[in-house]
């Protein structure tokens, strides 16, 4: 098919070359070179991803799994080969354990609904944590309300690390599922998911990992983690928007009822009774976002071409440099100082409202996010409403961190 592997392997990651792969980065805003530090919200797309989407619509468009004709067969092959790419990326045991969804939020909702229908009863408990994104809170609350179940929450310490002792205490015979974020979108904390899963499995409780902020920073091995579900979004891993992945162990996906009914998920439809298709199609009702899915496949190729370890090492360099630089600023308070974290800097500057800092950084052509970042309960822990968040990716540079530092100093002066 198409060659989407990156050809410039970066043993010592060549960031200049890499930046050229991302057209969006190559622009000025307000007359200055754009500094894009909002990667936790969404990542930019490499040329290979943009090109393949264009090419697919121009030359190959046809619905998957339906036509016997040439185009349909060709695009079905590409779609299924993207599933294989995701399987390899996650090191999943089977191809059919990969379900394509519209995003991480959709994936969590599927599990909350289907798992809830199959296994959760009145007074059962679901465990989440204080640092979850709203999309790993609200679907469980909805399911708990429907089923009469309860939500239990693992607290964090001030560094932004989960209190595992507390987790061990709240897990009990009524616990039906543990749903935990792999990497916090607000703090950058990398949670010890393997340990979390092991603790739950000792009690025969399945675990869902929200990998939306983890998947783009290094290799993920779902068999090694041994989680029961793993979810992520395509757009956070340099792929298109509107595509997500739900990995589920075969056993659960077999037993769980489908979430939505429609075309492509049936074996046979009769008015009296419909039988469902096999995995993974049982969970993929309707025409999937096949162009987006193939785009995600291209993004994964691009990343593995660069080398996930190279990305991890380079981002660690950005993290260490940025932490040293930002904490050197007087009256900058960093939130999320876990030992093990990704390249996210969440902070407050003096007593200036995050919104004001964000607005001024924008005028200095630095894109950050301000506010609660969809983790309101987390900020209640710190007794603040939110933060300024600079989230970096492997196409960011040390010089850009210097620019952020200088811009923040300038803002401090403006508010003096």
């Amino acid at each position: 098919m198409y060659e989407t592997k990156n050809t410039h392997k970066i043993s010592a990651l060549n960031v200049t070359k890499i930046r050229n792969d991302f057209p969006v980065l190559n622009q000025e805003v307000y007359g200055k070179a754009l500094i894009y530090f909002d990667n936790a919200a969404t990542t930019q797309k490499p040329r290979v991803v943009i090109d393949i989407i264009n090419k697919l619509y121009s030359e190959h468009n046809s619905n998957v799994h339906r036509g016997v004709h040439y185009l349909s067969e060709q695009i079905t092959k590409m779609y299924e080969s993207a599933r294989k790419k995701v399987q390899d990326y996650l090191n999943a045991r089977y191809n059919h354990e990969i379900i394509f969804t519209s995003g991480a939020t959709d994936s969590i909702n599927i599990v909350a609904y289907s798992f809830g229908e199959a296994y959760v009863k009145k007074n059962d408990e679901i465990i989440i944590s204080e640092m979850e994104h709203h999309s790993n809170i609200v679907p469980w609350q909805m399911m708990c309300k429907r089923k009469g179940a309860k939500l239990k929450v693992i607290s964090i310490n001030n560094k932004g690390e989960l209190l595992l002792d507390e987790y061990k205490k709240i897990i009990n015979s009524r616990t039906k599922l543990v749903a935990i974020v792999h990497v916090s979108n607000s703090l950058g904390t990398i949670n010890p998911v393997k340990e979390i899963v092991a603790i739950a499995h000792k009690n025969n409780i399945p675990v869902l990992i929200d990998g939306a902020q983890a998947i783009q920073h290094g290799s993920i091995d779902v068999q090694d983690i041994d989680c029961d579900f793993y979810v992520f979004s395509g757009h956070k891993i340099y792929g298109p928007t509107g595509v997500g992945v739900l990995y589920g162990k075969e056993r659960w996906l077999q037993e769980m009822p489908p979430y939505q009914g429609g075309g492509d998920m049936i074996e046979r439809v009769r008015f009296e009774r419909t039988t469902y298709d096999e995995l993974p199609f049982k969970f993929e009702a309707g025409t999937p976002n096949y162009i987006g899915v193939i785009g995600v496949g291209a993004a994964l190729d691009y990343l593995t071409g660069i080398g996930l370890d190279n990305i991890k090492n380079y981002e660690k360099k950005l993290l260490d440099y940025g932490t040293a630089k930002l904490t050197a600023l007087n009256e900058l308070k960093l939130y999320g100082t876990a030992e093990n974290k990704t390249c996210i800097f969440s902070f407050l500057l003096n007593n200036i409202h995050p919104y004001d800092v964000g607005m001024l950084l924008d005028k200095m052509s630095i894109a950050v996010r301000t506010g609660h970042h969809c983790t309101q309960p987390l900020w209640e822990h710190y007794k603040i409403e939110g933060s300024i968040r600079a989230s970096l990716a492997f196409y960011n540079t040390l010089e850009e961190i210097d620019s952020l530092y200088e811009a923040l100093k300038k803002i401090q002066k403006m508010f003096k």
Partner: protein, 143 residues
């Protein structure tokens, strides 16, 4: 002074700023100088809905004129509040209702604020206008 006269005065003041940085510096100064909202009005009910930053709003009719008391967590938004209060506070409901707030465009507030950010600004302006309309109706029915 009329609403138009005050707007012209503000436009003139902003003319000396030739870059956005100076404008923001001025807004920050105005924001710092704006007196805080009366604490009894700083309630959950008085929060303007749909604003990204907590913004409290209160108005009152006195001697046929509307007086506004508005506050925000953001100093820059407070700077904008100071300008809006200067233009509209102490004016007659009818004049507020009919006011064309062209100074917002003229001093570059619109171009300097993205749509999400201007949301705060327009929510405030809407609230100011709708309260004025309410007071006008009240005055007319009590005549």
């Amino acid at each position: 002074m009329t609403i138009q006269e005050i707007q012209e005065e503000i436009i003139k003041e902003f003319k000396i700023f030739d870059n956005w940085m100076d404008k923001y510096n001025y807004l920050i100064k105005l924001g710092k100088d704006l007196p805080p909202i009366d604490s009894k009005h700083k309630t959950e009910d008085n929060l303007i809905k749909g604003c990204q930053v907590k913004t409290w709003f209160h108005s009152a009719l006195k001697d046929g004129k509307v007086f506004y008391d508005i506050d925000s967590r953001s100093v820059i938004i407070r700077g904008i509040i100071a300008l809006l209060i200067r233009v509209l506070s102490g004016q007659k409901p009818e004049d507020i209702k009919n006011a064309d707030l062209y100074f917002i465009d003229k001093i570059g507030l619109r171009e300097n604020f993205s749509p999400i950010r201007t949301n705060n600004l327009w929510e405030m302006v809407n609230q100011m206008e709708s309260d004025a309309i309410l007071y006008e109706t009240k005055m007319n029915t009590s005549k």
